[in-house]
């Protein structure tokens, strides 16, 4: 086993058979370092924020702020909270680009430069100091592979899968049936709502919102069931069809394989989502729903599909059979998105009501923990995001007032934390699947 550790394949970095491959691997490594650096920065700031929040270090936010983000609007604590989240956004994007470059995805090539540009702009225009970190690493990686544009290409696995999936009648029949069911459901929902609210004119916005939420809710349920099913057979299916060995003896990098499978599954899910957008848009006829909601719902749905697809891939990589991979995927999906958050929020609720008079710090801690749990579940995230949007017109950051002392704390709309958590989880699962694939058997 000790000899294995020194092998290039076990070290997480693919053995390069050409200078070009060596450069790509180096760029991936640079991005990984960038992600780690952002993680450390984010962790340190979070630790300081906790210390400052508890009151151990008075005036900490005030002294941190000019260092991190002098030009930020709002309070000192909001600026620090924004720094923590934005560094984590950078971390997750760097990780995604790392995997993308290993898989030679064209979007990763563009993504690295976009990431550098966005961070450059954040640094120059907004004075967001931590952007420097990502700017340097993204530029470094981008320059490392500047000569290797030709290495990036259409993913062969994705192409193969989509050719197979879209061939013949099946794909279109499925799409038609899906749209038929969704339309039927929308009509049913409308009739129910129309029957219960007699004065339709005054409550038209309410109807529109309900129709919209209903369609998005159904789509969310659908994704929870479809996304893992599409990917759980990704690797086990190749094993069962005896095509896995053929693939493993080619030069196809393992990340390409995993990403290709994920892309083809997501491509189809995305098609279903896009096809249903006209249905969601019926809500516009009634009013009460804005484009922002449509956009945010689309982000939440897509991120859910990516993460659950990655769960399916991961179990496909570690299990032998598609059936057992599917079962594990569903179990873990349900536990992570519903079970654990539900149990924890119940526990939290009991604790919260048990402690009658909470000091401000404890109350803030409960608020943040609750936000975190909300962000673990796509449905709770969607509902809370919509509530915030409707009640407070908040898309991103907002300031909340504590009941106990009337002090204010910065809070963030759950879709942001949700996106970060789910994207990081998806990337980690993809990386783990890749490592599992690289390990030779026996």
């Amino acid at each position: 086993m000790s000899a294995e550790a020194s092998l290039p394949s076990a070290a997480g970095i693919e053995e390069a058979v050409s200078p070009r491959e060596a450069r790509l691997e180096r760029a991936a490594l640079i991005l990984r370092r960038g992600a780690v650096a952002n993680g450390i920065l984010s962790g340190v700031v979070l630790l300081l924020a906790i210390l400052g929040g508890i009151g151990l270090v008075p005036g900490l936010f005030g002294s941190l702020r000019p260092l991190l983000w002098a030009q930020a609007g709002g309070g000192d604590d909001a600026a620090v909270a924004a720094v923590i989240l934005l560094t984590q956004v950078n971390l997750s994007l760097l990780l995604v680009m790392m995997v993308g470059i290993q898989a030679r995805e064209t979007w990763a090539l563009a993504g690295v430069w976009l990431l550098a540009a966005a961070n450059g702009a954040a640094l120059a225009l907004l004075g967001f100091t931590p952007a420097l970190l990502t700017l340097v690493f993204a530029l470094w990686a981008g320059l490392t592979i500047s000569r290797d544009v030709r290495a990036f290409r259409m993913n062969p696995v994705m192409l193969k899968e989509l050719r197979g999936r879209m061939r013949g009648m099946r794909a279109f029949v499925v799409l038609t049936v899906y749209l038929g069911l969704m339309s039927g459901f929308t009509v049913l929902l409308y009739l129910t709502v129309a029957a219960t609210s007699r004065t339709l004119g005054s409550a038209a916005g309410e109807v529109g919102r309900l129709l919209f939420s209903g369609v998005v809710g159904i789509e969310l349920m659908l994704i929870v069931f479809i996304a893992p099913a599409f990917t759980a057979g990704a690797i086990t299916g190749e094993r069962e069809r005896l095509t896995y060995d053929l693939l493993k003896t080619t030069l196809l990098p393992s990340p390409s394989f995993v990403i290709g499978k994920l892309e083809s599954a997501l491509g189809y899910v995305l098609l279903l989502l896009l096809a249903a957008i006209p249905l969601q848009s019926i809500a516009f006829l009634f009013g009460g729903v804005t484009e922002t909601e449509l956009l945010l719902s689309f982000v939440i749905l897509t991120v859910t599909a990516i993460a659950l697809g990655a769960v399916g891939i991961f179990f496909s990589a570690i299990m032998e059979r598609t059936l057992s991979a599917s079962i594990r995927s569903y179990m873990v999906t349900l536990a992570a998105t519903f079970g654990v958050p539900l149990v924890l929020s119940v526990v939290l609720g009991i604790l919260s009501s048990a402690i009658r008079t909470k000091p401000a710090v404890l109350e803030a801690a409960f608020v943040y923990l609750n936000d975190l749990l909300t962000s673990m579940n796509p449905i709770a995230t969607a509902i809370n995001t919509q509530q915030l949007l409707i009640n407070r017109q908040v898309i991103g950051f907002w300031t909340d007032t504590l009941v106990s002392t009337g002090a204010t704390i910065p809070r963030v709309s759950p879709w942001i934390t949700f996106t970060i958590i789910y994207l990081v989880a998806a990337t980690v699962l993809v990386v783990l699947s890749v490592q599992r694939m690289r390990k030779s058997e026996g």
């Binding site: 053995e15 061939r167 053929l246 080619t250 030069l251 196809l252 058997e441």
Partner: protein
């Protein structure tokens, strides 16, 4: 001589069971190497180690100068592998199948169309280009798979039982294809338990049993090593002639002995065990024909692999 595949004391343990037990293999570049052994001898395990699919427990192996353990991707670039049992994607067309694998080997899209056409022509499947893969017969799938192994122009082909499960005609076609590929300069390392396949086209063979190499070398070496003498079979009309032939040749240098063996199809036969070169064989023929015996047949029995095989293997199937 340079060896394109070389293993040294290669071992693979599954628990307490030694699938491959100290195998040392040498395959010269450009050869057609038949890897023969009874079922369960360790052929497939060896091939899986050479193709980087299975990690050896100990020992070393090199393919095209690259260690299978330290440089697996370099090895993969040098080999084309066809497993014993393999699946084909059923929802693909023939050209798409090759296109996919060519893409997996990083062949740029602009070169792929010509490559696919060339490969299909080589394996004689041009007319099935747009058919679905699962509509092909088993022999055609085998040929398609062979085309796939050639997509990246590898130096070595590692083929596990390429002819198994094929009808006689398809088997001959595969065999001809292998000879053609060898002419193109590729080293072909293939396993088989059908000895006739091996003896007809191989330049080298290795016999494996119980995870160990029992004999290997070029066909000539193997013949010389395992069959120290040649056998000449003379067919004559009746028993008297046979006795006469035996008498005539027994004096010739190099003839170990000549015995009259039981008649076949009403014709008497004499078996002459002979050590000597081709001139010697010709001399024996001359002696008999000048001796006034009417000969119906004079053939050298090529000691086939079957005999060699039976002689070397002890029939221990582990």
């Amino acid at each position: 001589m340079s060896f394109i595949i070389e293993t040294r004391d290669l071992r693979k343990k599954y628990g307490k069971f030694d699938a491959v037990n100290g195998l040392s293999l040498e395959v010269p570049a450009g050869s057609i190497y038949g890897f023969v052994g009874p079922n369960g001898a360790g052929k497939t395990t060896t091939m899986r180690m050479l193709t980087t699919l299975t990690r050896p427990s100990s020992g070393e192996a090199w393919v095209a100068g690259h260690s299978v353990q330290a440089e697996p991707r370099a090895v993969r670039r040098a080999i084309g592998y066809m497993p014993d049992e393999f699946g084909v994607y059923d929802d693909m067309r023939v050209w798409e199948y090759l296109d996919f694998f060519a893409a997996c080997y990083d062949i740029p899209e602009i070169n792929r169309k010509k490559l696919i056409d060339d490969l299909l022509e080589l394996v004689d499947l041009t007319h099935r280009r747009d058919d679905m893969v699962d509509k092909l017969s088993r022999g055609m799938k085998q040929r398609l798979s062979l085309a796939r192994t050639l997509a990246h122009d590898p130096a070595v082909l590692i083929l596990d039982e390429p002819a198994s499960g094929l009808d006689p005609r398809a088997r001959v076609e595969i065999r001809e294809l292998l000879v053609e590929l060898a002419k193109m300069g590729k080293t072909i390392f293939f396993s088989s338990h059908i000895l006739a396949d091996v003896s007809e086209i191989c330049t080298h063979i290795g016999i494996i049993e119980g995870g160990k190499m029992v004999a290997q070398g070029s066909m000539q070496e193997m013949r010389a090593q395992l069959m120290p003498h040649r056998e000449i079979m003379v067919t004559v009309r009746d028993d008297d002639s046979a006795q006469k032939v035996a008498g005539l040749v027994s004096g010739i240098a190099g003839v170990i002995h000549a015995v009259v063996i039981e008649p076949k199809a009403g014709r008497s036969r004499v078996r002459i065990d002979f050590t000597g070169d081709d001139d010697g064989v010709a001399a024996v023929n001359t002696v008999i024909s000048t001796g006034g015996v009417a000969i119906l047949g004079f053939t050298e029995e090529t000691k086939d692999l079957e005999a060699m095989f039976m002689r070397v293997t002890k029939g221990i199937v582990t």
